[in-house]
Amino acid sequence: MKTDPAAPPAESKPRRRGFLGVAAAGMAGVALAPGIRLIEIAQAATTTTSAGANPAVRWGMLIDTTKCVEGCTDCVDACNTENGLAPATRPTDPQWIRKIEIKQIKTGRTASLPVMCQHCAEPPCVEVCPTGASFKRADGIVLVDRHSCIGCRYCMMACPYKARSFVHEPLADQKSDVPRGKGCVESCTLCVHRIDKGEKTTACAEACAKAGHGAIVFGDLNDPDSEISQRIRSANSVQLRADLHLEPGVRYQGL
């Protein structure tokens, strides 16, 4: 092996290695420090106040499809107004509640009914969410934490009810009670902002009652004396996609 006369003496090798080591450590520090700072910011931003939800309660809804009127969208309109959603015109527009018209293939029997987040006891959206942004409160309400939703949309893939929407565009004129965000996923909150203030019903149920249909009953499924519990005891009702055993908090009568 030939020695290059221009090459530095052998003892400089460890020095160079040492320098490279220090440089690498410095670079690592420069690379990591903002990350650590970001972690602090992220954690600070996602600290949630979970106090408030009562574990003794299980909020739910009963929808009587025999009373729901075809073509009526009062519940949808009320939801939009309550939560600051623009009326949907495109497949990219969020819809927290929608009216579905169904027709039994064999008999031709038709029905009209609203579908929204079913607030499952075993919600697949919560299971698949990588960051835990999808969560279920102690009172059974399934929500999305807008601070930790990264917009991966895996929950939308997992939901069997197509209950979730993605905010595809920048938002304006938001309601102060209902924070939303572009690039995040959202869905029916069971009007959690009303419930937490002690109000007894949701915007959709209220609108339906006001229109004289009374097809939506909101209440505590754990309270045996609540109207919803009594109705569920006395009349047959079903859960959508009951075969999946997700135990939705929303039930349908007359299907």
Binding site: I100, I102, I150, G151, M157
Partner: protein
């Protein structure tokens, strides 16, 4: 340094890097546009929530796992002809994974919150498992490359190779299960997706490897040894045929369950672009034609590259059918009923990919390309065949 590119002129190298860099920049620009305007500028909506970027990202992530096959055969099973290819295989794995993750991350609704994904971990989420599997893969493959490049650590290369083998099986299983655990969608919810993704990764990874290896050898004015070429071509043929078998099993089991009949009819017969892409793109051009070519004993170097390119074409066709077609078919919320609503219930979704999506996907490929170019320039990864050794092992 420079040994790999003895014959590749500096200018050509910089031109290629610049071309790849431009593609990457276009992808970053597209991602910026998507973030500014929102996903409304894409073809995605509330029914098809994962679009073309996922096709690119999943392709690259799955191929990143499969490309390591060459290294595994060398390090774990002791085949010397493959050992010389292990460094290139490891490098390609890292660059493909980086490209795929770049696309996946930039397609998020809130890409700036990727740090949240790293700090908030939901243990029941397959996605969260994959975050660990991907970052672990980077670390393990980097260590593996180190054991190969640093002579002192050479004795540990086999152990590192075994760790890589196990890890990438888990990684591809995890990728398959992202879909396999989706009970809500008729297209997915199948355990066969995990092994299917593993077998697909073998073919896609080897096809990428063959194209890159051939380009590198050509730039150096060298040619792949004929015996080695035959072995690799046959191996690729076996992988592609095995993947086709798993795809057939997946569809045949679906056809057996009557509740899946409508979905299968959509994907395989009535769904317009999806049956076309499935049969012509994946089954014929992406599988049967390359398998037929790869088992030709006199297949030229160009023939192998052409067959590999067809395999990659088939990969994209299949992923498009699987991901987009699978979401386009409506959810069955009311079995036995026809349904319609303002939210696309009961209706087939019509997804048309947009330019920003395509550019973002290509940007990921560009990033993987640039990283590979730089990697092969600074590291000694060019496969060198000892012709005699290759011939003797090939005869075995």
């Amino acid at each position: 340094m420079g040994a790999t590119f003895e014959r590749l002129e500096q200018r050509t190298f910089y031109l290629l890097v610049a071309a790849g860099g431009l593609l990457t920049l276009l992808g970053l620009g597209a991602a910026h546009w998507m973030e500014e305007r929102g996903h409304v500028v894409t073809g995605m909506d509330n029914q098809v929530v994962w679009g073309l970027p996922h096709v690119f990202a999943i392709f690259m992530i799955v191929a990143a796992s499969g490309v390591l096959n060459v290294a595994s055969i060398g390090s774990v099973f002791g085949q010397s002809a493959y050992k010389t290819r292990a460094p290139l295989s490891g490098l390609l794995s890292l660059t493909l994974l980086a490209g795929g993750l770049l696309v996946l991350m930039l397609d998020l609704g809130r890409p700036e919150r990727v740090i949240v994904a790293a700090t908030h971990y939901n243990a029941t989420s397959v996605f969260a498992w994959n975050v660990l599997l991907y970052s672990g893969m980077f670390a393990i493959v980097a260590i593996y490359l180190w054991t190969m490049f640093e002579r002192r650590f050479n004795p540990y290369a086999k152990a590192a190779g075994v760790a890589v083998l196990v890890w990438r099986f888990m990684l591809t299983t995890g990728t398959g299960l992202i879909f396999g655990f989706l009970v809500a969608r008729q297209a997915y919810q199948s355990a066969v997706l995990a092994p299917l993704f593993i077998v697909m990764s073998f073919g896609w990874g080897l096809a990428v490897f063959m194209i890159v290896q051939s380009s590198m050898l050509t730039w150096n004015g060298r040619r792949l040894d004929a015996a080695m070429r035959r072995r690799l071509a046959r191996l690729l043929g076996v992988f592609v045929a095995a993947a086709l078998y798993f795809v057939a099993v997946y569809h045949l089991t679906n056809l057996y369950f009557s509740r899946q009949g409508a979905f299968e009819a959509f994907i395989l017969r009535d769904g317009g672009v999806f049956p076309l892409l499935f049969w012509l793109g994946y089954a014929v051009l992406g599988s049967l034609v390359p398998v037929g070519m790869l088992f030709q004993p006199r297949l030229s170097d160009r023939g192998v590259v052409a067959a590999s390119a067809l395999v990659l074409l088939g990969a994209f066709a299949w992923l498009f059918v699987f991901i987009i077609g699978g979401q386009s078919f409506p959810l069955e919320i009311f079995p036995g009923y026809l349904a319609h609503s303002s939210f696309g219930d009961g209706a087939i979704a019509h997804y048309v990919p947009s330019w920003p999506e395509l550019l973002l996907g290509l940007g990921g490929i560009g990033a993987a390309f640039v990283l590979t170019m730089v990697g092969v320039r600074v590291l000694d990864v060019l496969p060198r065949d000892d012709v005699a050794a290759t011939a003797s092992t090939a005869r075995r």
